[in-house]
């Protein structure tokens, strides 16, 4: 903006209080699109019901960013290095959009591939499960980040930073290493990180996170 860009129309969404807040809806938690990262970090409700998600989300940005940046902004910015889509995808969250045709719900793990036109993201619904667990490793950002969800013998792996959009893989935990490697598209290859290195690290981090979850470690 300071370099001379102008916007045809700017709409102040902060004037819409219905987009804020974090609510208990029983078997899921509804996070308003305008909830800030700080709201997530300090929510007593999330601390009680989605503690692993809250801990993982708290690693996003820094305090200055978290106090201003919103969950919805993280998603709709569609930046490949952002962690929001990866985390929400592996825990089965749904994105709620208001469209000309009414409200629609899209799985977080695929919504980023084709956000609906003329739509406003209003909320994110995060399922609450007694059995599902989450672990996340962003220590190699911006080369690669990996989130793993584990529910029984089913594992979901989300890979951020390594491709132009997040990559997700779901399958049986016993098959994970070979099947994930086979399904993983060729990662980005640039001076920041080679494709082979990124591919290798996806395998290392996902295996490490699964081991951590099996041991019962928190995220």
């Amino acid at each position: 903006m300071r370099s001379g860009d102008t916007a045809g129309t700017l709409i102040n969404l902060s004037a819409l209080p219905t987009l804020c807040g974090i609510e208990d809806r029983g078997d899921f938690i509804r996070v308003g699109a305008l909830a800030t990262h700080w709201d997530v970090e300090t929510s007593p409700l999330l601390a009680t019901r989605l503690a692993a998600f809250q801990a993982a989300w708290t690693t996003i940005g820094n305090v200055r960013i978290r106090m201003t940046g919103t969950v919805g902004g993280n998603l709709m910015a569609a930046e490949r290095a952002y962690d929001g889509p990866v985390l929400l995808g592996v825990i089965g969250a749904k994105l709620i959009f208001l469209t000309d045709a009414g409200e629609i719900s899209l799985p977080a793990l695929s919504a980023h591939q084709d956000y609906p036109d003329r739509a406003l993201l209003t909320a994110i619904d995060i399922p609450v499960s007694m059995t599902a667990r989450l672990s996340f490793d962003r220590s190699l950002k911006p080369v690669v980040s990996v989130a793993v969800g584990l529910d029984g013998g089913v594992v979901s792996v989300g890979v951020g930073c390594a491709h132009t959009t997040p990559f997700f893989w779901l399958g049986r935990i016993d098959d994970m290493e070979d099947a994930l490697s086979a399904a993983l598209p060729d990662p980005i290859d640039n001076p920041m990180g080679g494709a082979a290195y990124r591919r290798r690290m996806v395998g290392v981090l996902s295996r490490r996170l699964v081991d951590r979850l099996r041991r019962g470690d928190a995220s």
């Binding site: 903006m1 300071r2 860009d5 102008t6 916007a7 045809g8 129309t9 700017l10 709409i11 102040n12 902060s14 820094n62 305090v63 200055r64 960013i65 106090m67 201003t68």
Partner: protein, 163 residues
């Protein structure tokens, strides 16, 4: 907003300010160019480094990444607004001086505002809390140890002096 000017009424360092801004005008430009509050520094221009940190209703924000119209009805506090009316420095400012917590000084106003926001929330933070919180801003001179120690010291000043 669609190209027209937006009317903004806010307080900056406890003084009411009213102005019209373009939709794309950023807070740092209003502070520096219109109000001559040049203590707030522009550096990365991406909201990443924190040199331009000011407090918006007490929250630390990047003024280079905050639209000026977003301050309507809010309280903006810059480094110029920290000292008391009698000129006494804020404990954070005093501690930064006593601890030599700067080299080139360019990041210092942002660091001080970030530290003030922390101490307003948590008057007695432990070192790890300070370290994590202050990690939001970047010092190119890498004087982090002295900055962290200054914030630790600033947290003690009100207890010692009763200021």
């Amino acid at each position: 907003m669609s190209g027209e000017m937006a009317f903004v009424s806010c307080t900056v360092n406890s003084v009411t300010q009213e102005f019209h801004v373009r939709p794309e005008e950023m807070l740092i430009d209003v502070l520096r160019d219109r109000l001559a509050l040049t203590g707030t520094k522009l550096s990365c221009d991406l909201g990443a480094c924190g040199a331009c940190t000011v407090l918006l209703d007490g929250k630390p924000v990047s003024s280079c990444a905050t639209f000026a119209w977003q301050t309507d009805g809010m309280n903006v506090r810059t480094v110029e607004g920290l000292a008391a009316a009698n000129g006494a420095l804020d404990p954070v400012q005093q501690a930064f001086i006593e601890n030599s917590a700067f080299q080139c000084g360019y990041c210092t106003p942002g660091m001080i505002m970030l530290a003030r926001a922390l101490l307003d929330r948590d008057p007695s933070p432990d070192r790890e809390t300070i370290r994590v919180w202050m990690g939001a801003n970047i010092c190119r001179c890498t004087g982090y140890e002295m900055i962290i120690e200054a914030v630790e010291k600033a947290a003690l000043i009100p207890l010692e002096t009763g200021k």
